[in-house]
Amino acid sequence: MAIRDDFEVVASQVRTAVQRFALGLLVIAAFGAMLLGKADTVLVEHARVLALDLASPVLEAIARPVAAANRVIADLKEFASLREENARLREENVRLLAWQTAARRLENENERMRGLANFREGPEASFITARIVGDSVSAYVRGALLNVGRKAGVASGQAVVTGEGLAGRIAEVGENRARVLFVTDVNSRLPVVIERTRERAILAGDNSPQLRLTLLQSVAGVQRGDRIVTSGHGGSFPVGIPVGEVVETGEGSVRVRPFADFSRLEFVRVVDYGVTGLVGSGGPAAPAAPPAGVRVR
């Protein structure tokens, strides 16, 4: 009896020791993964893409009911302010019609001027329309997952736009999935110009809903309401995509509100600027040509 008790005591001690040891091992393994990820970013990139491709069927299944739920939430919100919204839209429509006339006139004029000046336009951009199937929005990341990937011609670094303006750029590409990094992400740096003054600057995200304008030559020239557009420096972005407007100018810091509404993104367009095609052997590369079965508009 006493022997058996002793045995049980020893056994339980051994078990606790193993458990403690196991915890240490697990902690070391977690740290190992973190250090490995820091040292070998390419490996992590591959692992991320693999994880995305593996998780995508589940995401696809989750996305539909979630979209339905989102629509209900949005409907409820809009229902409350239907009347005001209608009045606002009618007013906006009148204003936009005036703008449309102006735009048509300018477009014609521009075309004639270009003909006169023998102006050569940049490469033609084409679009790949994608549905957002996943969010990667946390306290540290601002991004989303798209249902198009390498097969549809998406490549890392391409611009992602919504109807209102620039949303972000492609950060990672899997076979059928791509991850967008929004302009509001803390890792986003975007070469832009201020539309009115043509002054160059860098637009940086800091995970908050607004963006920060940095590397300005002078803050003095910036006014509230100035539109910020992409400058096209760095190559892969088209020139002149609207990004946002200045909402706050203080000492040394200019805040910009992005035009894209990240809280209700459903479809986005990936802009294929054809730069990859230019680098190739000179043939008329058409990387944007989507294979059958991919949702493209």
Binding site: A30, I62, D135, S138, Y140, D206
Partner: protein
């Protein structure tokens, strides 16, 4: 307890796979493009909640290596260039260890105590992830969104925990270690 036939076997398999499957579901749910304000921001903390809740009753069904894999998967899926991969794994493993070593204060006690325990551990988890993310990306990350996330998940806990506890309650092994073996099948403690 003796396995009786195929159904019994399936039952046992289902039970042992349930915590892992639930955790996987919540890890994947993190990516769901839910547009509900506040709630969508708190989704990345729900796996930690699941780990806490299942560690209360059946830690043996969430073995450490599984937590490691789930944590790494969560970090890979959440993305973020330069963010540490494995910090959630570290957090999960530490939560489980903390719960297992403090069962006395967390199991078989009023719900408020469990909630308080979760508040403490979740705060530790948030601080851990924030610290390592800031260290790895070497930027001063604004802690406010993380704290916002934390506040939301604290509020969600009383809504979600009873659901998960219901899932657990059907488990005949769901009794504290001390009384294990004396409980009749179907008898549970809350």
């Amino acid at each position: 307890m003796r396995a009786d036939g195929v159904l019994g076997m399936l039952d046992r398999w289902g039970r042992s796979a349930l915590p892992g499957a639930t955790l996987l579901f919540f890890v994947l749910l993190t990516l769901a493009p839910l547009r509900a304000p506040y709630l969508s921001g708190a989704l990345p903390l729900l796996p930690a909640l699941v780990v806490f809740q299942f560690s209360l009753a059946t830690p043996e069904r969430l073995p450490g290596p599984l937590l490691l894999i789930m944590g790494i998967l969560l970090d890979l899926l959440l993305g973020g260039p330069g963010a540490p991969v494995g910090v959630s794994a570290l957090g999960f493993v530490l939560i489980r260890a903390a719960v297992v070593n403090n069962r006395r204060y967390l199991v078989g006690v009023p719900f408020l105590f469990q909630w308080f325990g979760f508040c403490l551990l979740a705060l530790g988890f948030v601080a851990l992830v924030w610290f390592f993310t800031a260290l790895w990306t070497w930027t001063a990350i604004d802690p406010l969104p993380a704290l916002m996330q934390y506040a939301v998940v604290i509020v969600i806990y009383p809504l979600l925990a009873p659901l998960l506890a219901r899932v657990r309650a059907r488990d005949p092994l769901n009794v504290p270690d001390a009384s294990r073996g004396t409980a009749r099948p179907g008898e549970t403690t809350s």
